[in-house]
């Protein structure tokens, strides 16, 4: 089974982050694999192992020919990678990103499945997987928590607020998986060393036959700090304070 996994390489969320003049995130630093993509990589590796063959191909878009995050996913066990890196894509919006990734996926050769995360940890737009499905003419299944492959189709548990929906889709399909549904494997040093030698095709926008010189229909005008959390209400416990809590929850229509 051939599976394409979309992996985003992002500035370390634990570190300090800066904004560029156009209010997009400064990505001119060491980038790491977005943790939310590591679940997709793990699911892909498991599906490949169950199917007994095939390849897992990573597709990524990042500036400065950054491959650190890709190497992490290769160390986990993916076979190869395609990286689109181009200054012209700096600050690209979600739709442009989807167009670029869709073209890159087509370059990956025959595939049965494309897997992405629900949303990235740095942008949180969350529309890229569905946009790619549309561009590639694939069925789109979102919020997957479990994927099973059956004869020519997939059966997906789609997470909902109350539980999950059971969804079937023909292959090939585009699936976005929710974070935390599997435990991503920990690379061994053997895997890390092997990742160094795995092929990573680094290409630009023109290699994909795309023209992004017209830019995109999105401009960020300003960025505001999130409002500070308002001070809470302090209640001295006189033995009856639980009534206040009940009242508070009732007012919020929680109970």
């Amino acid at each position: 089974m051939n599976i394409v996994v979309l992996v985003k390489q992002i500035p370390d969320p634990a570190g300090p982050s800066e904004l560029e003049d156009d209010y997009t995130l400064d990505r001119n630093c060491k980038l790491i694999l977005d943790e939310s993509d590591s679940y997709g990589v793990e699911i892909a590796l498991q599906l490949r192992e169950t199917s007994g063959g095939g390849e897992v191909t990573l597709v990524s878009m990042a500036p400065n020919k950054e491959v650190s995050g890709i190497r992490t996913a290769l160390a986990m066990g993916a076979e190869k990678a395609i990286l689109v890196t181009d200054d012209a894509l700096s600050g690209a919006d979600a739709l442009t990103t989807a167009k670029v990734l869709a073209k890159a996926i087509e370059r990956a050769g025959d595939y049965d499945l494309v897997i992405g995360a629900t949303e990235s940890t740095d942008g949180y737009v969350g529309t890229v997987p569905a946009a790619i499905a549309e561009l590639l003419g694939l069925p789109s299944v979102t919020f997957a928590k479990k994927i099973e492959v059956q004869e020519g189709k997939i059966v997906v548990q789609r997470q909902t607020e109350a539980g999950y929906d059971l969804i079937e889709a023909p292959l090939p399909a585009m699936i976005s998986v929710t974070a935390g549904v599997v435990e991503p494997r920990y690379p061994s040093f053997k895997g890390i060393m092997a990742a160094k030698k795995k092929p990573c095709d680094i290409i630009g926008v023109s290699d994909l036959g795309l023209d992004v010189s017209a830019g995109w229909g999105q401009e960020i005008l300003s960025v505001e700090d999130a409002p500070a959390r308002a001070a809470g209400e302090k209640i001295e416990d006189d033995g009856e304070s639980y009534l206040k809590i009940v009242e508070f929850l009732e007012n919020k229509k929680i109970i």
Binding site: S68, R71, A75, Y186, P187, S188, F189, K196
Partner: protein, 379 residues
């Protein structure tokens, strides 16, 4: 000569760190402390199978991955950071190193693949109730008997001695003293005449046992080196183990420093964070100096071990001496900086304090290693 870790070695560290965060949390460590075996079988299996840590420095011809001591000390440091309870130090740093330093290829082929995969838990039964770390401490005897050897004696402070399937036993030919007449034998723990008893130790994160050898019959092909000529191999094994332990001490000391600094920033007293007081600042600055110096010593020693160069015999005791002092001092200061809460069972400070103490003493304390260093450089 390059002392910086490569990008791949940093990745290994990162992988180790995230695994240990999940599987060697304070709760897990405390659970393991309560058990007699002292480790989680499932976690150990994953360390052997998935992460491949025990295989790191074991050559490929013996079922290992064929990397070097530099990778090994990187994971040792991470294990020390979270006080991982596992038979890694006993199996890999003691037993596997002893087998590798020996000249018996058949034994290496027989036992190293099992250690590399994590299937075999092994240890070095070297010290005795006399508590001495030099060759003189070995009083157990090996008597030649019709082509076999009969082993007698008591081994103590044997790390994981009650759970190990394979013991590397040090014994001497009767009538010999010092470094003469020492032999090393590979003895399966289920051999007739071998009995073990778990010891009550202060540091519950690393279990020790006493092993009694009563007329234990072993064939001559269980010898790691020629009979009576094992001291050089054993001495080097102890050097290599000291280097690994030093790296582990660095990880622990760093964690003590980190938690101290974190606490000093948030704990407010007299209207200011306690970290703003000179008394606390100076403590933290001293700890930082020690941690950084200890790290440099341990990394240098790790490099010497990886290169297998002549410096190993001097930098190993140097690193063990410095890192022992540094870790214990940081662990003790960590308790002081935490004040009252640092003395409670619920806080982890005492776990690091106890590990620091057991690691300080194991393989010989700082004074012992400074003396060893003085002797080796001819002072």
């Amino acid at each position: 000569m390059n002392f910086a870790f490569t990008e791949e070695q940093e990745e290994l560290r990162k992988s180790a760190r995230s695994f240990l965060e999940n599987y060697s949390s304070s709760e897990r460590v405390r659970e393991m402390m309560e058990t007699e075996s002292g480790y989680d079988k499932e976690v150990w299996t994953r360390i052997g199978q998935e992460l491949g840590w025990p295989s790191l420095h074991i050559p490929e011809e013996y079922g290992g991955s064929g990397f070097s001591y530099v990778e090994l000390i990187a994971v040792m440091e991470e294990m020390g950071t979270t006080l991982l309870c596992s038979p890694f130090f006993s199996s890999v740093c003691l037993a596997a190193n002893a087998l590798l330093q020996g000249s018996n290829d058949k034994l290496k082929k027989e036992h190293l693949p099992g250690i590399a995969s994590g299937d075999t838990i092994a240890t070095l039964a070297f010290t005795e109730p006399n508590g001495r770390w030099g060759a003189d401490g070995i009083t157990s005897t090996a008597v030649s008997d019709g082509g076999d050897f009969l082993l007698n004696g008591v081994k103590s402070f044997v790390i994981d001695g009650h759970t190990a399937q394979l013991l590397i036993v040090a014994a001497r030919t009767e009538g010999t003293t010092g470094t003469d007449g020492v032999s090393l034998f590979a003895v399966p723990a289920d051999t007739a005449g071998v009995s073990s008893r778990a010891l009550n130790t202060m540091d519950l994160t690393r279990k020790q046992a006493e092993i009694t050898l009563e007329n234990v019959r072993v064939p001559s092909n269980a010898l790691l080196t020629d009979a009576g000529a094992a001291w050089p191999a054993l001495s080097k094994t102890l050097d290599l183990a000291a280097v690994a332990l030093a790296a582990e001490q660095v990880g622990g000391a760093q964690r003590c420093l980190d938690t101290s600094v974190e606490y000093a920033k948030v704990r407010v007293q007299f209207g200011r964070p306690i970290g703003s007081f000179q008394a606390i600042k100076h403590k933290c600055a001293d700890m930082l100096l020690e941690v950084e110096s200890a790290r440099s010593a341990a990394y240098y020693a790790g490099w010497a071990a990886a290169e297998d160069n002549e410096e190993l015999s001097t930098v190993a005791p140097l690193a063990k001496a410095y890192c022992s002092d540094a870790y214990f001092h940081c662990a003790a200061e960590n308790i002081q900086i935490h004040g009252g809460i640092g003395f409670t069972w619920e806080h982890d400070a005492h776990l690091y304090f106890k590990r620091a103490k057991s690691a300080e003493i194991f393989l010989g304390d700082a004074t012992y290693h400074r003396e060893l260093l003085a002797q080796r450089i001819g002072l």
